[in-house]
Amino acid sequence: MINSPEHTTPRELAVRRIMSMGGSRRDMLKAAAAAGLIPVVTSAQAATPSAAVQEGGTPVRGGQFLTLGHQTVDTLSPESSGATVVWVALVQLFDSLYVVDEQYQLTPVLAESHEPSADGLTYTFKLRTGVKFHNGAEMTSADVKYTYDWIMDPANGSTRAGSFELVSTVEAPDPTTVVVTLSKADVTFMVNVSTVMIYPSAYHAEVGEDAFSAAPIGTGPYYLADPGNYTPAQTVLLTAYEEYFRGRANFDTFQLDVVPEAAGRMTALESGAADNSIWTLNAEDSITIEESGDFKTFKTLNNAVNHFPLNNKHPFLSDVNVRKALMHATDRQAILDDVYQGLGVLATSHLSPNVEAFYNPNVTTYDYNPETAISMLEAAGWVEGSDGVREKDGVKAQFTLQVIQGDSQRRPIAEINQAFYSEVGVQMDIVEAQVADILAALPKGEMDAALFNWVYGGGNGEPDSRDTLKTGQPNNFSSYSNAEVDELLDLGITQLNQEERVATYNRVQEIVADEVPFLFFLHPQGYSFFRNSVSGLPETVLSSDNLYYKVYLMWKTAEA
């Protein structure tokens, strides 16, 4: 079996220590740097199981778990676009064959085990028996086959079709076996499996996807007891399913209230109305809540990198020395301190330290040094013109940065950098555009640069970044093209050996750090709060989102 769930590397422990540290940001950065020096070792050594319950005490049944989301829960079907708030409700209602848990460990749920063939083309899943849907129907391989086939059928226009791009057939030879054949070996397939929740075939086929989205039936720990308990813009109230195959959930009910305003979520937490907020608060409110001592606080680094994608075909930006010089010209620590209140870490390439198994800190680094930047530009032939802006062969050292319209939080980053770049003789103009426009125009090379955060691999601990770094891919915002990177990314998804995979993605990070296809600034830190009375939480997490898989194991004790 690959991706064995039980292993903890020394560096993983170090990163977790950092994340649980209450110390200052500087301490955290120092510790992060120290952790980075420890080489990556991912031996499959035995360690403590990654089950959520690490906290003492006997679980108590009863009560309610009340959490808050910022978005309308428009649908209760797994066909949802993947908005986190909706997803949190979905994982209470549905299960998938496997999940990637809050420690980024692949854990079996509806499946007992899986066996990839030697060539990596065939995956054989053994399913659990005795799993029941909320309508009492038994879950079998037919349901899995139905779900996978439904997603792959173009007629259904499924939003999840991308997950199964490489799947050629799904077979169910007997009720507890599912065999999936891929057209090409792809080890990220298991991550896709972990995101696809299983439909009850008979019911879904009968009512159809649209009706299903308002009256869902799954195998999950909670179910929708009454259609009236679901009002999309207001509340999702779910009831514990007595026959849940992993044991009835401790909380009698799970409630998700929609509170769009960050200030509203803040007051709901402060007033004691809510146990948790799915969506983050304003930075200063997060600090207040943490300091109140009423909440268990999980701090995790985002997988997304805050960056300027740069058009690598732009006459000025296509020069690698220019991009490197811009990195040196950017005081990223100042951005982190002033815009993010120090909550985050500086990026070393496209991958976040949070993807600890694959993160490579041993790459070219860029300290803030305007002199270095200037000499690099001079050496590359970019000399100062009469107006103070450099030029070379008639090309001006100038580009335009697109900022998302109304993005008041990140706009200061653009303005600070405008000043930094002007110091080294580079003119950056700032304009605003709609986010949809930016995302559509960048990969086509129709814009010079932009400012936003994006995940370049790392979701669910999976480092694959074909989508963003491979030549010509739809989310390759920098029009980046490097033959070696393309090869490595294709190789990485075929490697069954973890150490070889790590080496592959370490190399990708080296190249990205070296070539700077985009200006990578930092990975912001996210906060997640659980009221102190909520028990059954792990000490630390790598993904606070994936902790919602474990709500059924949590319980409430009397508040001290």
Binding site: T75, D210, Q234, T267, S271
Partner: protein, 308 residues
């Protein structure tokens, strides 16, 4: 009278048509691909995106889509929404409009009941302490943004005192703060207007004559002043109604109130043409009807106004 109403209704229908066409054009030209939005950050091939577009008829031309929409509308079918396919759009809007209407009507009635007596009293006792205080209050009520008042009230009454829930609409207590906040601005504007209108009427010759005749002060107020002062107020009420509707969008966000404003916002963000269209039509319809009703009420209150 009847022909007037029919004429106004026809005009209203034309306005609705123009507004619907305009919204459709704006939404159609708005950048962003709804199919891409549905997929989120997930990996997807061009063929798969195409399948999604096909499923939701996003590839149809402007004319085809507008025609499909308008012909459905005639049969009373507002269609199915991309963002919430589990329910019909009529039901979606019905639910949300119900929530907004409750808020609007309650605060409208509440503010009317307080603002008109306050305004009249302030006019009658001009330059008194009551007049100064009430007008200072009304200036503040207009000047201070209502989302700020909302947040402050939440902090005091739900975080500190714990008297009311901080958000939602689950209990009657939850109505108190949003209704109050929505009423404050309304009340402030109305009280000011009532005071001004009353003062103006009180200076009219017929009031002076009535007073000279020795008519009781109360009788003068009820028979001559109030009735005449109400005229401009009623004209304004129609506009205020529209204003309150737009005001709820902010308040709905602050108090997490699942009303029409929230639905509207969600639909625009998700580029759900059908829903945006239906809401615009509803809001325009309300304004058109309110305006007609205002004109008719005018005729009832002021016999000099004859509608032909």
């Amino acid at each position: 009278m009847l022909s007037y109403v029919v004429k106004r209704l026809l005009q209203g229908g034309f306005v609705l048509f123009l507004v619907s066409l305009l919204t459709f054009v704006v939404m159609f030209l708005m950048p962003g691909d709804p199919a891409r939005r549905m997929v989120g950050q997930a990996r997807v091939t061009d063929e798969q995106l195409e399948a999604i577009r096909e499923r939701w008829n996003l590839n149809d031309s402007f004319a085809e889509r507008y025609w499909a929409w308008i012909s459905n509308l005639v049969t009373g079918d507002l269609g199915t929404s991309m963002m919430r396919p589990g329910v019909t759009i009529s039901q979606m809007i019905g639910d949300a409009a119900g929530m907004t209407l409750r808020l609007t009507v309650l605060s409208f009635v509440f503010s009317l009941c307080l603002a008109i007596p306050i305004g009249m009293l302030a006019a009658m006792k001009r330059y008194s302490l009551f007049d100064y205080i009430s007008m200072l209050g009304s200036t503040l009520g207009i000047a201070v943004p209502n989302y700020w008042i909302g947040l402050m009230l939440i902090i005091v009454f739900s975080v500190n005192l714990g008297w009311v829930p901080p958000y939602g609409s689950a209990s009657w207590q939850a109505y108190i703060l949003p209704v109050l906040v929505l009423s404050i601005e309304e009340m402030a504007a109305l009280a000011r207007l009532t005071r001004g209108a009353t003062i103006e009427v009180m200076n009219q010759d017929y009031v002076v004559t009535a007073r000279a005749k020795g008519l009781a002060r109360n009788v003068i107020m009820v028979r001559h002043v109030v009735r005449n002062a109400l005229l401009p107020i009623i004209t304004i009420l129609g506009y205020r109604m529209a204003f309150i509707l737009s005001g709820t969008i902010v308040i709905e966000t602050v108090f997490a109130w699942p009303g029409i404003g929230r639905l509207f916002f969600d639909a625009i963000v998700q580029k759900d043409l059908q829903v945006v269209q239906a809401i615009v039509l509803l809001l325009t319809g309300i304004i058109v009807v309110v305006n007609i009703v205002t004109d008719l009420t005018y005729a009832v209150i002021d016999p000099r106004v004859r509608i032909r």
